[in-house]
C-alpha cells in the first residue's frame, strides 16, 4: 500500500534520472521532427505559393495526414521504418507538416501585392524578392505555424513510447497500465509544461519587433538544431539480445522489476506498445518480448514462451468482476455470466485469439462460433428490461469475451447488452467500473492482486504458489474494499511470459528465463 501514500514529489525524485532521460528524449523527438518538418514544409509552402495550382493538392494531402489518428500513423510507419526513433520522428514530422506548409503559404500569399510589385519594379530578382521581402514579411505567420506544430509535436510525442522511441509517454502509459497516478503525472506534467514553455518561447520570438526579426530568423534554425541534438544521446547499454517490453511490464514487480531482482536479468530494453510488439519480434527488430501466454499472435508469429523457472509471474486467471449493485439490479445476471465458467482453457483461448488476431475474423463471429460449438448459443430474445454495460480492455481477447457475454445476456435474459470495448488499460477499465460507467468486465487475478490492490511483496510471494489462493484473496479483498464481486474463473490463465522466436530460441538453446540470463552473460 505504501506506493499510494508516496507523494508525486517523492516519485519524481526517486525516478529523477529516468525522468530527465525521458524529458530529454521527448524534447529531442519533438524538435528533430520539427526541424525536418521545417526543412520540408518551408520550401513546399514557398513552392505552392508560386504554383498555386498545386496548393490544393499539397494542402489536401497534408490535411489528410493530419487527420490520421496518431496511433494508426505510428502503426503505418512500422513496416516501413521498423521500431524506435525513426518511425516516431517520421510520424511526428508528418503531423508538423500541415501547419508549417499552410502558414508559409498563407504568409507569403498574404504579403501586400503593392509591396511585392514595388520589389519587382526596383529590379529585384525572384530570389531577392523572396528572401528580402516575402519571407521577412511572412515570418510572423510562419512562426505561428511552427509554434502550432511544436505544441502538436510535444503532445503526439508521448505516443512515441508505443513504438520504442522513448519520451515522457513511457511514464504516462506505464502509469495508466499500472494504476499508478504518480507515474502518470510524472509523465503528464512535464509534457504539459514542455508544451506551455515552448509555446511561450516561440510566441516571444513571434512578437519580436520587426527590427529584431532578422536575429530571430537566424536564431530559430540554430535553436532547432541544438534541441534536436538532444536525441542523439547514447542509448542504454547494449547486450547481445534486444528486449521490448510494454510500459505496464516495465513497472511491475511481476514484470521487468521481478526479472531484475529475482533472475538478475540484464538486457537492453526498449518500451513498446503491446499492439506491435509481436510483429516487431517476428520481424527480428526485437529478440525477447513480454507477451501474454494466451495471445493468438504467439501462434501466428511462431514464438515460444520461456519457462518461468523461478515463478515470478503470478497466475492470471480470468473472471468477470461485477458491481454488487449491478447484480442486484439485474437479477439472474450472475448465473448467466457463470455459464462460461471453466469453459475456456489456455489452448482454446489461444486458438480464439489466433482467429481474431491472425485470421482477422471479427470478435462477433469468433464469439458466436465458439458458443455454437459449446452448445451455449441461443438467438437473442426481446430486450427491454434494462441494459447491461460490458467493459473490455483494448486487446483482442477482451473483445471476444465481451462479445460472448453480450450474446449470453441477450440469449438467456430479456436484458439488452451494450459493449464498451477498448477502455485503454486496467486503470481506465477499473475506474469505469467503480464509477458505475460499466457493470462488469473480465479481469485477471494477477492484475487484481498487483495492479489494483497493489498488494505488498510478502502477500504476493505467499500467494504465488497457488492460483486458487490468489483467486480467494482478490475475491475477498475486492468485496471488502470496492464492493465488487469476482465471479467464477473462465478457466484460462493469461499470465505474463517472456517469449522469443522459435528458431532463435532453439538455436541458442534457450528454454527458460535462467537459460536466457546465462546466455546474455556468456562471452
Amino acid at each position: 500500500m505504501n506506493e499510494q501514500q508516496q507523494t508525486l514529489w517523492d516519485f519524481m525524485r526517486q525516478q529523477s534520472g529516468k525522468l530527465l532521460e525521458q524529458t530529454v528524449q521527448h524534447i529531442g523527438l519533438t524538435f528533430i521532427s520539427l526541424f525536418i518538418a521545417v526543412l520540408i514544409g518551408l520550401p513546399l509552402g514557398i513552392f505552392i505559393s508560386r504554383r498555386k495550382k498545386f496548393s490544393g493538392a499539397v494542402l489536401g494531402v497534408a490535411g489528410i495526414l493530419q487527420t490520421i489518428p496518431s496511433i494508426a500513423l505510428l502503426g503505418f510507419m512500422i513496416p516501413l521504418l521498423g521500431i524506435g526513433p525513426k518511425p516516431a520522428i517520421a510520424a511526428l514530422l508528418l503531423y508538423a507538416l500541415l501547419p508549417i506548409i499552410r502558414n508559409t503559404f498563407t504568409g507569403i500569399t498574404g504579403v501586400d501585392a503593392t509591396v511585392k510589385e514595388a520589389a519587382v519594379a526596383m529590379g529585384m530578382s525572384k530570389w531577392q524578392v523572396l528572401t528580402k521581402v516575402e519571407l521577412p514579411l511572412a515570418m510572423p505567420v510562419i512562426f505561428a505555424g511552427i509554434r502550432t506544430a511544436t505544441v502538436i509535436n510535444v503532445g503526439v510525442a508521448t505516443l512515441a513510447s508505443y513504438i520504442a522511441a522513448g519520451g515522457l509517454g513511457e511514464f504516462i502509459f506505464g502509469g495508466i497500465s499500472l494504476n499508478n497516478t504518480n507515474m502518470i503525472l510524472a509523465g503528464a506534467i512535464p509534457a504539459a509544461l514542455l508544451a506551455i514553455l515552448f509555446d511561450f518561447l516561440l510566441s516571444r520570438l513571434q512578437k519580436l519587433n520587426i527590427k529584431k526579426l532578422k536575429t530571430a530568423t537566424a536564431t530559430l534554425p540554430l535553436l532547432l538544431l541544438v534541441l534536436s541534438s538532444f536525441y542523439l544521446l547514447p542509448s542504454a547499454y547494449g547486450t547481445k539480445l534486444k528486449a521490448g517490453f510494454t510500459p505496464e511490464f516495465m513497472g511491475r514487480r511481476d514484470g521487468n522489476l521481478g526479472l531484475q531482482s529475482k533472475y538478475g536479468l540484464k538486457i537492453s530494453t526498449v518500451v513498446i506498445s503491446d499492439a506491435i510488439m509481436y510483429k516487431a519480434a517476428f520481424e527480428k527488430q526485437l529478440d525477447v518480448i513480454s507477451g501474454y501466454s494466451t495471445d493468438g499472435r504467439l501462434k501466428a508469429y511462431d514464438l515460444v514462451v520461456l519457462k518461468d523457472d523461478k515463478n515470478i509471474f503470478p497466475p492470471y486467471y480470468a473472471a468477470p468482476i461485477v458491481q454488487e449493485n449491478s447484480l442486484k439490479k439485474f437479477a439472474g445476471l450472475e448465473k448467466i455470466l457463470n455459464l462460461l465458467a471453466g469453459k475456456i482453457n489456455d489452448s482454446t483461448m489461444t486458438a480464439l485469439n489466433y482467429k481474431t488476431d491472425y485470421l482477422h475474423q471479427s470478435p462477433e463471429k469468433v464469439a458466436k462460433d465458439f458458443l455454437v460449438a459449446q452448445n451455449l448459443w441461443r438467438p437473442a430474445q426481446t430486450g427491454g428490461e434494462g441494459v447491461v454495460r460490458i467493459g473490455s480492455k483494448i486487446f483482442g481477447e477482451q473483445y471476444i469475451l465481451a462479445n460472448i457475454y453480450s450474446m449470453l445476456i441477450k440469449g438467456y435474459s430479456h436484458y439488452d447488452a451494450a459493449t464498451k470495448t477498448g477502455l485503454g488499460g486496467t486503470k481506465i477499465c477499473f475506474d469505469a467500473l467503480t464509477n458505475d460507467q460499466i457493470d462488469f468486465y473480465p479481469e485477471y487475478t494477477g492484475t487484481g492482486l498487483l495492479a489494483i490492490l497493489q498488494s505488498p511483496a510478502k502477500v504476493v510471494d505467499s500467494l504465488m504458489v497457488s492460483p486458487q489462493a490468489t483467486y480467494n484473496y482478490v475475491q475477498d479483498a475486492f468485496e471488502k474494499k470496492y464492493n465488487i464481486k469476482w465471479l467464477k474463473p473462465i478457466g484460462f490463465n493469461n499470465a505474463y511470459a517472456l517469449m522469443m522466436r522459435r528458431g532463435q530460441a532453439e538455436k541458442l538453446k534457450i528454454k527458460t528465463i535462467s537459460n536466457l540470463k546465462r546466455y546474455l552473460e556468456s562471452r
Partner: protein
C-alpha cells in the same frame, strides 16, 4: 527617348491595350490620362516589363526593352506606386537604399545620395531611422519618390503617385514636384485619372479610352483643339480652371501692353507660369499690378488684373479661329 510602337495587351478576350503608339522626348513629362480600365496602368507597367505585351514593341534610347534582362532594365527605371509600396520591414533609409544595394554601391556613396535626397524632398534626418508605418501619407509618398530617384535613372514611371493623398497635401506636393530640379532632368511617364493633376504636371497629355489613345498633345491642344466630342466632354466640367492652368503668361505676351514695372511695386512672376498662378497673386497679395519677367529676352511687363483677363480673352479668341 521612349518609343511605343503598336503596343497591345490582351487578357483573355479583353483588349486592355489595343494597338497604341506614342513617343516621349527626353526630359518630357507625359501624362497617361483616363478613367479606370482605360489601359493606362497596363501601358505603364509594360514599359518596365511588370507586364509583358501581347504585341508591339517598346524602345528606350533605341534599344528594344525585350532584349534586356528585366532586372537590369528595372534598376535603370524609377518607379513610384500609388500606395507608395514601401517595404514595411525596412527603415526609411533602407527603403531609399534598395536600388543602390542591388547595384552594389559602396556605403558612403549610398549615404551621401540618401542625405542629398531627403534634403531635397523636405524629409528630416530623424525620419531615416523610422519605419514607413510611422510616417504620414505625404511623407511616405516622398520616401517613395526618393526611392525611385536614388540611382538617378533617366526614366521615371509613376502610377497615380499622388492618388492616395488628400487635396491639401497633394497640391503641396504638386508644387514641390514642379520645383524639383531632379525631375527636370528625367523623362517621366505618369498615370493619373485626375484631370487637374494632368494639366498641372504634364508637358504632354495622352488621353486614353478603352485601350486606345484618343488624343495625344499639349494641355492647350487638348483644350482648344479637341479631336472629338469625347475629349471635349472629358474636360468640360473643369474647363475654366484648366484653361487658366494650361495657358501660360508667356502665351499672352503679345496682348500685354509693354509697360515697364514701376519702381518698388508689385510681385515678380516668371512668364513660364500659368495664368492661374498670376491670378492667385491678385487674390492674395496687395497691389494692383504684377511684374511678369520674360527670362529669354530679358523683358518685363507690369500687368493689372483687367489687362490680364483681357489678354486671356484675346488669346482664346485667336485659338478659336485657328
Amino acid at each position: 527617348m521612349i518609343k511605343v510602337q503598336h503596343l497591345s495587351k490582351h487578357f483573355g478576350k479583353v483588349k486592355a491595350v489595343d494597338d497604341i503608339s506614342f513617343e516621349v522626348k527626353e526630359h518630357e513629362n507625359l501624362i497617361l490620362l483616363g478613367t479606370s480600365g482605360c489601359g493606362k496602368t497596363t501601358t505603364l507597367k509594360m514599359i518596365n516589363r511588370l507586364i509583358e505585351p501581347s504585341a508591339g514593341s517598346i524602345l528606350i534610347d533605341n534599344k528594344n526593352i525585350s532584349d534586356q534582362q528585366p532586372e537590369t532594365l528595372r534598376r535603370g527605371i524609377g518607379y513610384v506606386l500609388q500606395n507608395h509600396g514601401l517595404f514595411p520591414h525596412y527603415t526609411v533609409a533602407e527603403n531609399i537604399a534598395v536600388v543602390p544595394q542591388l547595384l552594389q554601391w559602396d556605403k558612403k556613396r549610398t549615404e551621401k545620395r540618401v542625405s542629398e535626397l531627403i534634403e531635397k524632398l523636405h524629409l528630416t534626418k530623424d525620419q531615416l531611422r523610422a519605419f514607413p508605418g510611422e510616417l504620414s501619407g505625404g511623407q511616405q509618398q516622398r520616401v517613395g519618390l526618393a526611392r525611385a530617384l536614388v540611382a538617378d535613372p533617366p526614366v521615371l514611371l509613376m502610377d497615380e503617385p499622388f492618388g492616395a493623398l488628400d487635396n491639401i497635401t497633394r497640391s503641396k506636393i504638386h508644387a514641390e514636384f514642379n520645383a524639383l530640379d531632379e525631375l527636370k532632368r528625367k523623362t517621366i511617364i505618369m498615370v493619373t485619372h485626375d484631370v487637374q493633376e494632368a494639366f498641372e504636371l504634364g508637358d504632354r497629355i495622352c488621353l486614353m479610352d478603352k485601350g486606345k489613345i484618343v488624343q495625344n498633345g499639349t494641355p492647350a491642344e487638348l483644350l482648344f483643339h479637341p479631336k472629338n466630342n469625347f475629349v471635349r466632354e472629358f474636360l468640360q466640367e473643369q474647363r475654366l480652371s484648366l484653361e487658366f492652368k494650361s495657358v501660360k503668361l508667356l502665351d499672352l505676351w503679345q496682348w500685354l501692353a509693354p509697360k515697364p514695372p514701376p519702381k518698388g511695386g508689385g510681385a515678380e512672376l516668371s512668364a513660364d507660369l500659368g495664368v492661374w498662378a498670376g491670378m492667385e497673386h491678385f487674390k492674395f497679395r496687395s497691389g494692383d499690378t504684377i511684374n511678369i519677367i520674360h527670362k529669354e529676352n530679358n523683358e518685363s511687363k507690369s500687368v493689372g488684373f483687367e489687362q490680364l483677363m483681357s489678354a486671356f480673352y484675346q488669346y482664346k479668341q485667336q485659338q478659336a479661329h485657328e
